[in-house]
């Protein structure tokens, strides 16, 4: 099959080049024609038309049995509006007694009787010409309208740019829903695929969303614009693609084609055309008209791809015969291409609006949040599910959400690593109005360059979900937790955006450089740090406010991001939760390390401590034991269990039991930046602690008073042994640490700071 396609491609290539030349010539002629002082431009002003009354045009061909069902429903719908809408039935040369039946049973209906069948397009054109109101609703005779279908269609014309509004099309139960009204175009491999896409949840929330075409059988049209565009083109006679072509031209002129999901019609039969053509003939008709539509309307840029790749489709959707027949009307198509109206909106632009309703809303209604709305509608977008006890970042987001949710309405969209994590969503539901999760399974590369630290979070499913959320609801503020999530900032245009730098990634990468001894690895680490910096700065520039967790983090970003954008809100700790009973007794000679092992600095810290420091401590105090507590230990950490003094627990439900038995908490971190939640937790639990200076960054440490800070291996061992030997010193240090945690790191004031920041940026007066 592939070989045939290649052969076809070579055979038809000269023809395609000739066609391309012809289309280029036409575009030049069209350009000249637009420059010449002929009245070619759309002359209609964009004014709101009176939209209380309309003319309803129904096309009929040998469909008396259909009219018997559709006309009473239509009359009910007209009565429901309370207005006197005009109903016109265009009889397209029926051979049955449709006209007699209408005259005898519905004398109020105006009849336009045509002598012969002029086809769908021309029949409707005659009906529109005979109508007297500014809005014309075109209906097929097999459409059974719902009682309230008319008002949503007419109300759409309050917008002065609207050309047509389509109804949502339903099918009887048990029938496959072939049409919905949500019409879309997908251009794959240079060949168009027109389709009716399913109705999404946001279609029912938003009254009007853009579609590619309003079907000629169930849509309302702006009459003057319809006439200005010349109505349905005779090129497509007898049927199919007239409406697609007309709507496409309207979009090009800058007029909108929308779908009102609240207006519903039931497409009960599909009888007129299927009775006249066989399925293969219909298929051929559609494919021909598809080609004419593209050749007539699409810009040269699209046509180049289309024409060059078209021969490859000759063995798929398109047969050579259909293609040959389509060429038969080439001159007419070229003529119509020359005579087309000048483009005001490019095809690429309106195609994007149609494909992505969010882009449409952002363009036409960028600041669509309501005025003086309170509480604020906040959307938090998180890279990891905010949950307690897994990792410091998750804890931070959870507690801040809880605090903010006391005053504002928070919705959450988060990645989850596996199905099991979804069980933790229930803990968030009391605080979040809505929680949506997306499993992080697949990503698409975001750049060609070799090191892309955030690309694993570039997930099409997540993007889609976020789009749906933003279309469904108007948010006052979007908060990205973790910098990698800011790659979705392009979707949130017009909404104030926050970004939390839980850890300044480039700085964290830079801390690795000092540890590398191999020059090549050192070079690689520098490269990674620079690359991360570049990407991180790009992301920070996309948002309105960057929240850092320590002053050091803010300083490291100051050279690259506007200083006014940077704020600091510390991470806190739940001092109530970690308030251990004073009477608790620790196990002597027990060391504890707590950390989530998906965070690489924790892995490095444990490998370093167990291989280099612990043997020296054990040598002095053989009864010493170490508990390594934390979620997701890798194989290298699990392997540490082979050391007799070490116990690797993995994830534990209640971490307090390990704090309780710890005499000393060790934090031997050598890499990474940001605030260390484990230090705050140990303080809140009233534990003595030995930490490296790097681990204490950004925390109110007073060495020797609330913590022992040890720089270097010797000092770390010495300090640890000192504490192990002196239980009273441990208690003293623990008490001081708890006081620090209670005074400076409680979540309530931190939550208040976050709320103030939110309210400040959206410039609303808090009530």
């Amino acid at each position: 099959m592939f070989v045939i396609r290649v052969i076809f491609w070579f055979v038809f290539l000269p023809v395609q080049f000739l066609l391309l030349l012809a289309f280029s010539l036409c575009d030049w002629l069209h350009f000249l024609r637009c420059k010449l002082p002929f009245p070619t431009d759309c002359t209609l002003p964009n004014e709101v038309v009176p939209h209380k009354l309309c003319s309803i045009v129904m096309l009929n061909w040998d469909g008396r049995h259909l009219l018997e069902e559709s006309i009473p429903a239509l009359k009910r719908a007209v009565r429901f509006t309370g207005n006197d809408h005009e109903i016109i039935v265009v009889d397209n040369g029926s051979r049955d007694d449709s006209i007699d039946w209408l005259r005898s049973n519905h004398p109020s209906i105006e009849i336009v009787a045509l002598k012969e069948n002029l086809g769908f397009g021309e029949g409707n054109n005659r009906g529109v010409a005979a109508s007297c109101h500014d809005i014309v609703v075109l209906l097929n005779n097999d459409m059974i309208v719902s009682e309230d279908f008319l008002s949503p269609l007419l109300d759409a014309f309050e917008d002065s740019h609207v050309f047509a509004v389509s109804s949502q099309i339903l099918f009887p139960e048990g029938m496959r829903r072939q049409e919905t009204g949500n019409t879309q175009l997908h251009f794959r491999g240079g060949y168009p695929h027109f389709s009716h896409e399913p109705i999404q949840s946001f279609h029912n929330v938003r009254a009007y969303l853009p579609v590619l075409w309003a079907g000629g059988g169930s849509s309302a049209f702006h009459r003057d614009r319809f006439m200005e565009l010349g109505g349905f083109s005779s090129l497509f006679s007898p049927c199919y693609f007239e409406d697609t072509d007309l709507s496409y031209r309207a979009w090009s002129c800058g007029w909108k084609v929308l779908m009102a999901a609240n207006s519903r019609v039931l497409h009960k039969h599909r009888s007129s055309s299927s009775g006249r053509f066989s399925s293969s003939q219909m298929e051929r008709l559609v494919e021909q008209r598809k080609l004419w539509h593209i050749w007539k309307n699409y810009p040269l840029r699209t046509l180049v791809v289309h024409l060059l790749l078209l021969p490859l489709h000759l063995t798929r959707q398109l047969s050579v015969a259909t293609y040959g027949c389509a060429l038969g009307k080439l001159f007419l198509v070229l003529y119509q291409r020359i005579c087309a109206m000048p483009r005001k909106v490019s095809e690429r632009t309106f195609a994007q609006w149609i494909r992505q309703p969010l882009a449409y809303l952002n363009h036409f209604n960028p600041g669509r949040t309501g005025t003086n709305r309170f509480p604020l509608q906040i959307l938090a977008i998180s890279a990891y599910l905010p949950q307690l006890g897994r990792h410091g970042g998750g804890n931070r987001v959870f507690y801040l959400l809880r605090e903010v949710a006391k005053k504002h309405e928070v919705s959450l969209l988060s990645f989850v690593e596996n199905e099991k994590e979804c069980d933790s969503v229930s803990a968030l539901l009391p605080y979040c109005k809505r929680v949506e999760t997306v499993k992080r399974t697949r990503h698409t590369p975001v750049s060609l360059f070799p090191y892309e630290p955030f690309e694993e979070f570039n997930c099409p499913a997540f993007r889609k979900k976020l789009e749906i959320l933003l279309v469904e609801k108007d948010f006052d503020l979007v908060h990205f937790e973790w910098p990698q999530m800011a790659q979705y900032a392009d979707l949130c245009r017009g909404i104030p955006m926050f970004l939390t730098e839980v850890e300044v990634n480039y700085a964290a990468h830079y801390t690795v450089v000092a540890l590398q001894k191999n020059p090549l690895k050192k070079l690689r680490a520098i490269y990674n740090s620079l690359h991360t910096l570049y990407r991180e700065v790009q992301l920070c520039r996309k948002v309105d406010r960057v929240v850092c967790v320590t002053d050091e983090d803010r300083n490291s970003l100051r050279n690259y991001v506007e200083e006014s954008k940077l704020s600091v809100i510390n991470t806190g700790v739940d001092t109530q939760y970690f308030n251990l009973d004073d009477s608790h007794v620790f196990e002597p000679n027990t060391l504890v390390f707590v950390g989530a092992f998906r965070h690489e600095p924790n892995v490095d810290a444990m490998l370093y401590f167990c291989h280099q420091l612990l043997p020296r401590i054990v040598k002095e105090r053989p009864q010493t034991c170490l508990y390594i507590v934390g979620d997701g230990p890798p194989e290298s950490v699990k392997a540490l269990q082979s050391i007799p003094q070490v116990t690797v627990t993995g994830y534990v439900e209640d971490i307090r039991s390990f704090y309780q038995r710890a005499q000393v908490v060790v934090v031997p971190l050598r890499t990474g930046v940001g605030i260390r939640g484990k230090i705050l937790e140990a303080w809140a639990a009233g534990k003595a602690m030995v930490a490296t200076p790097l681990a204490c960054q950004g925390i109110r440490v007073v060495p020797g008073e609330n913590i022992f800070v040890a720089d270097g291996a010797d000092e770390f061992v010495k300090q640890t042994l000192g504490l192990l030997r002196d239980p009273n010193l441990c208690k003293q240090l623990g008490r001081a640490g708890r006081e620090t945690a209670v005074d400076f790191y409680d979540w309530k004031p931190l939550g208040k700071e976050m709320i103030d920041l939110y309210e400040g940026i959206v410039q609303r007066d808090p009530i």
Partner: protein
Amino acid sequence: MNKSHVLLVQCCHLSQFFYVAKTLRERNPEYKVDALFCTSSQIDAYLEDFPYFSQVYFYQHNSRALGDGLDVEAIVFPLLNRGYWQIKKVAFDLSLTNLEVDYEGAFRPLSVRRLYLSRVRPLYSPTDSFVAYHQDFPILPLGKRILLMESCHSTVLRQYQDKLDALIPTDSEVTHIRKGSVKEIRRDVRINHFESAIVFFSGEPGFSVMRLLPFLLFVPRIVVVTETGKTFDVNTRSLCRFLLERIRRGVLPPQSSPRILVVQTETVPHVQHIIGQLRGVKLFPRSEITLFCRQMDRSHFELDCHVDRILTYGGAGIWDNFRLWRQIRKLDPDIVCAIFSGRPYFRKSKLIFFILPTRRRMVFNAQLDHYNLKFRTFSRIFRSEPLLLEPEPSPEPSPEPSPEPSDSSSHVLMLQTEDPVKTAKAIKVLTSEKVAPRARISIFCSAKEQGAFASLPQVNQVFVYDPQNPITSLTTFWNMARSGPDVVAGIFSGRPIFWKQKVLFFLLPARNRLVFNNQCDCFFLNWRNVHLLLPVRNVRFDNSILFIILFFFRRVAKILLFFPRFAFLLMWVVSMNLKRVMSTTTGK
């Protein structure tokens, strides 16, 4: 119009010309009408039936030569056709009063512009009465020696027998060639010089040689009969037009009762289902169905009222098979049908489906939708989709071998590509009820791990290699290959270890290759899931080819772009810091 003696020029088809002449005669009985024909052949026969003309002329290239013998007051052109330009031009140059006439027989003065316009398009559309006239317009009877090619299903010929009777004179000598008797034509050609031929273009596939034959024999007159009963005399233009129309409008489905051979390539309920479909109103309700099935399923199909005849295979011996083959050949089926669901069973039957001579092969897919097997649809038979009907448990085991190593004779060779713990876990999964509980398992491991694997109860044989001694390793490899494993299994966790064994995984001859991932879940390797072997986590791509290309592209980019990108990043950082310093010093 005072012209009472006119010359009607045949610048249109004969049916149009005689229709116009008839209309002229009816409207103006007092007129004297002469005719100028563009060709003299066959005209005499028509003139006997349609005696409208007082004088008849034939076209000559020189208008002066033509004009010498003429005594008319006006020349009348029925400009109903785009062609016939020469005769139009010659008649126009006679410099008499020129008139044009429509289907109704009304005259109008003919201008030069109108004459030239008639070259671009017909000036009048046919009326309903002309269409009816044209339908009944007779084709001239054929000559004495006629070649009748039955290049269609026999029922089509019967359907249009009356048309043939009208075409073939009673005293003519007809050589009737059917599909089976094409060879006899050699003898007939030597004896007979055919004057005319009738050939059927019924739109059915096949019969191409028979259709071509009259043209190859250069029979002077060939009449084509179509599937709608329409007949026309063949010339280059009419044949091209007919074939183009075929391409444009397609062919009406034949309304015949074909002989269908259904080849069993799936289980009984599926075959019964498609036989029901074939006999349905939408396909071939009047067909004659012969079923070619397994001996063991015969009893099921004998109860099926739609099956007219059953042929079974499964007999032993060459003679039985030869006799069966002759029986099938004798059937000469119009259509051969089979189900191609993508399942690897009934291979021999499928082969028979392809080698049987027939005009049309119809394939039913897994969803039991049907399509004709053509070059462009050929790739569809390889599609593997879930079957529409659940396969019923067969009372007897299928004679076709199953690709999965589920039967006790399957030999699975496990290569150690991970640590012993994980490999043992994979072996446990392999021997579990879901995968291959009765399989014979061999393992290929290093000499130092031999003890660990030999003690496993599931392992039947251990092949060892010694990393220090490549010669013995080669011997082991040879022994392994000779042991003839049905399945080669290995763990691909993404870790860059045991790479030689991983290469061996692909080199060893086996029918299937079973891959275990890091979690010891297993899958059979095929081209669709080959990308899962790559050491990338959390990646699921729909298109494996695209993913592999992208993967290697990025790997190459990583190497090539490292230093240029590094240089760029350094410059960028320096420029950012300089900018910052400058803005601080200038106080902005």
